[in-house]
């Protein structure tokens, strides 16, 4: 049975439990579920919101490409990813990744792999909106995100 990733880009929030259920309901071959969710930080109460811009079409396509690699590489039984766009307030969800597999290591690795590649390859850009009304500018890409990819290079 081929495993197809479930990738969604949406403005609305997501329900983690409902998403886990979608992946696991009616199955008895899954022994491990790993979820990662990324939230908006308040940056010591200076941030009023993050604005997430994305490239419609390519954002879905690119995360799907990464998810397909993760399924193949780690032998996942399923993977879901939801990335929100628009204005997101501190404390709110930005991104969700759920990986399922027979045993835990594949799910841990699959979720980690997807997030590492999503950070540097999925076409999203964050802009800061500050509480004092100032334009906080666009968030700079981090070298540490590029470095994180190195651990996935096959030796």
């Amino acid at each position: 049975m081929s495993t197809k990733p479930d990738i969604r880009i949406q403005q609305d929030d997501f329900d983690i439990n409902a998403e886990i259920k979608k992946l696991t309901q009616g199955r008895t071959d899954i022994g491990a579920v790993v979820t990662f969710s990324g939230l908006c930080r308040g940056e010591s109460d200076t941030l009023s919101a993050l604005e997430l811009e994305h490239y419609p079409g390519m954002a879905e396509a690119e995360i799907t490409r990464i998810a397909e690699q993760a399924i193949k590489r780690f032998g996942l039984l399923g993977i879901s990813a939801i990335h929100r766009h628009g204005k997101i307030k501190p404390g709110e969800n930005i991104v969700l990744v759920i990986a399922v597999s027979p045993h835990r290591q594949a799910s841990f690795d699959g979720a980690n792999f997807l997030m590492d590649f999503l950070k540097t390859r999925a076409p999203f850009w964050k802009k800061n909106h500050l509480i004092n009304g100032d334009d906080g500018g666009w968030v700079d890409a981090k070298d540490t995100d590029d470095d994180a990819l190195a651990k996935w290079e096959k030796k």
Binding site: M58, W125, A141
Partner: protein, 86 residues
């Protein structure tokens, strides 16, 4: 050759538009040629192209790492800064 070019993040803001149809001269064959063409296009475009080493490109919604890649019969070229999702 006419191609749709889309811009994101601060490139979009600096150019003051999110997309445009460009009629490119025959001589613009690669991404690198396209960047050269932008440099000669006007002050604001040249200012953005000072960052050409970090600017990223997708052709028909697929990342292009090599700036010598040919544009060919691309329908859509996207130009954007390093991504910051997740």
């Amino acid at each position: 050759m006419t191609v749709k070019v889309v811009y994101f993040s601060w490139l979009r803001e600096r150019f003051g538009m999110s997309e445009e149809q460009l009629d490119l001269p025959e001589a613009v064959k690669s991404i690198s040629d396209l960047f050269d063409w932008f440099e000669a296009r006007g002050e604001e475009f040249a200012a953005v192209m000072e960052h050409r080493d970090i600017i990223q490109v997708a052709i028909d919604q697929t990342h292009v790492q090599d700036k010598n890649s040919l544009i060919g019969d691309a329908k859509e070229i996207a130009i954007f800064p390093p991504m910051t999702g997740g």
